[in-house]
């Protein structure tokens, strides 16, 4: 059979985590997860170091607060600056990592979905494959543009507002900071909701059209000369089954490749998120200057990054599953 629907090879960034044997999805997923979890340990060590530095800063500021005759404002400003300096470098690295992961996922999707579209069309889903591709490509482009042009800069805006809010100590920018965060969450939620709705409706509507077309073809085949009809029917069945097998193999490989690209950065950002949340909780015990709110905000920024990378990955996974499920 001269059909070839092979998923593109996983890019270099995810190659280290990609399991060698992708025939069994369950064991491949387990291998991938085990490999990706290896990145957690060094990140945990680094996060613990940062947590200790933060605790020391907060403790120092709390002690100095008693000596400050201006109600602790100078100490708080110095504390906010110190915490900002300690956390901004790590946060910047995580933001770059998140943005890069989203870009890599999008690039891989651009290679994977033409293969899935062609394989689904070969399997008889001509209308649904084109519709699924259109939806996936449009929403991927929208999400990618949104994240790179708006949401990533807004993470910096959020952090800047959080730092400024903490430094002034008046809570003037608190509402603006919360609005920025709310807007980012709302954007991601809207894009994903519209996307999943579109994919659900498209799958049902175009799937019905394809099923009707396939049934019409089968009726036509059965009406021709018996021997030729039998040969045509067998050959059609062989092509449909062959295309289905290739589509499933490409889809499973594609899902694993997407996870290989996504899991390690997601876990790294996740470790930072959890460690910052833990540090904020710890510092709240002896924080008399309200600095734990700034640490909490840095943790929230990591949470927003997790949401962005998670949304990009989810978009690719849902699309791939729709292509896999799109058999008529």
């Amino acid at each position: 059979m001269n059909m070839d629907f092979t998923a593109p090879v996983v890019p270099e960034q995810g190659a280290a985590y990609m399991p060698e044997d992708t025939a069994s999805f369950g064991s491949a997923l387990w291998t991938l997860l085990r490999k990706a979890l290896n990145v957690v340990q060094p990140e945990l060590y680094q996060a613990a170091q940062t947590g200790l530095i933060l605790a020391a800063v907060v403790l120092l500021v709390s002690l100095l607060k008693g000596l400050d005759t201006r109600g602790g404002r100078c100490g708080k400003m110095a504390g906010a600056m110190a915490i900002g300096t300690v956390l901004l470098r790590g946060a910047n690295a995580m933001i770059s990592l998140g943005a890069q992961t989203v870009e890599e996922l999008s690039q891989y999707g651009k290679l994977l979905f033409p293969v899935m579209t062609a394989a689904l069309a070969a399997q008889g889903g001509l209308t649904s494959s084109a519709a699924l591709y259109t939806g996936t490509a449009v929403f991927d482009a929208v999400l990618m543009s949104l994240i790179s042009r708006l949401l990533v800069p807004m993470v910096y805006l959020f952090l800047a507002l959080a730092a400024a809010n903490s430094a002034t100590g008046e809570g003037m920018l608190k509402k603006l900071r919360d609005t920025v965060k709310g807007f980012m969450v709302w954007c991601l939620r809207i894009v994903l909701t519209v996307f999943t709705t579109y994919m659900s409706i498209t799958g049902v509507v175009s799937g019905t059209t394809d099923a009707a077309a396939l049934k019409a073809t089968k009726v036509t085949i059965s009406s021709v000369v018996p021997v030729v009809g039998g040969i045509l029917s067998d050959a059609s069945e062989a092509v449909l089954v062959g295309a289905g097998v290739m589509k499933n193999a490409a889809g499973v490989y594609g899902i694993l490749a997407v996870l290989a690209l996504f899991l390690a950065p997601f876990l790294r950002i996740g470790v930072h998120y959890l460690s910052l949340k833990a540090a904020a909780s710890l510092c709240a015990i002896f924080d008399g200057a309200g600095l734990n709110e700034l640490i909490e905000d840095f943790g929230t920024a990591m949470g927003l990054l997790l949401a962005m990378t998670g949304a990009s990955c989810l978009l690719l996974l849902v699309s791939t599953v729709c292509f896999l499920k799109g058999a008529v």
């Binding site: 001269n2 059909m3 629907f5 201006r70 404002r73 100078c74 708080k76 400003m77 906010a80 600056m81 901004l88 979905f113 033409p114 579209t117 062609a118 394989a119 689904l120 069309a121 070969a122 399997q123 001509l126 494959s129 084109a130 519709a131 699924l132 591709y133 259109t134 490509a137 449009v138 482009a141 929208v142 543009s145 708006l150 800069p153 910096y156 805006l157 800047a160 507002l161 730092a163 400024a164 809010n165 430094a167 002034t168 100590g169 008046e170 003037m172 920018l173 603006l176 036509t220 021709v224 000369v225 018996p226 021997v227 030729v228 040969i231 045509l232 050959a235 092509v239 062959g242 295309a243």
Partner: protein, 152 residues
């Protein structure tokens, strides 16, 4: 981005210093208002430089591209189907010929719906066996006798 974050932090520090000065009543409220306005303007300043259009957000005719990929897939499937049908019909004819004691090479021509329309048979065959094979092919495969070409 770095300049922006530094500008925000610098503005926040300046505001913090201003607010830490000992003032009372209206003056304190005025300074607070000015600081809040300055910080908000500073924070939102990048928004004035944003230039957005739908064509920037969604570029490309995705629908047409999707149809092209789907058509490519269908074309590959059709080619595979044609190849299998051709192979199977050739095997069928050769089996028939073998049953009659003939050794032939067979070429099959298919129409747009993958139905056999013409057959070229290469090899020596007595006239009677030719007639038998032609009859079988015309009845079982629906190929017109005049579309059966003998070479050799």
């Amino acid at each position: 981005m770095r300049e922006y974050v530094l500008a925000i932090c610098a503005a926040a520090l300046l505001c913090g210093l201003l607010l830490s000065l000992p003032q009372e009543g209206l003056m304190k409220e005025l300074i607070k208002l000015l600081c809040a306005s300055a910080l908000t303007l500073c924070a939102l300043s990048p928004l004035t430089r944003l230039q957005w259009s739908s064509s920037q957000l969604i570029s490309g005719d995705w629908s047409r591209v999707g149809q092209d990929y789907a058509a490519q897939g269908e074309k590959e499937a059709q080619q595979a189907l044609e190849s299998i049908i051709r192979q199977q019909i050739c095997s069928y004819i050769m089996d028939k010929a073998t049953d009659l004691g003939l050794e032939l090479e067979v070429e099959v021509e298919l129409d747009g719906e993958h139905l056999p329309v013409a057959v070229t048979l290469r090899g020596a065959a007595p006239p009677y066996l030719r007639l038998c094979l032609e009859e079988a092919l015309s009845q079982e495969l629906g190929i017109a006798k005049e579309k059966l070409q003998w070479i050799g």
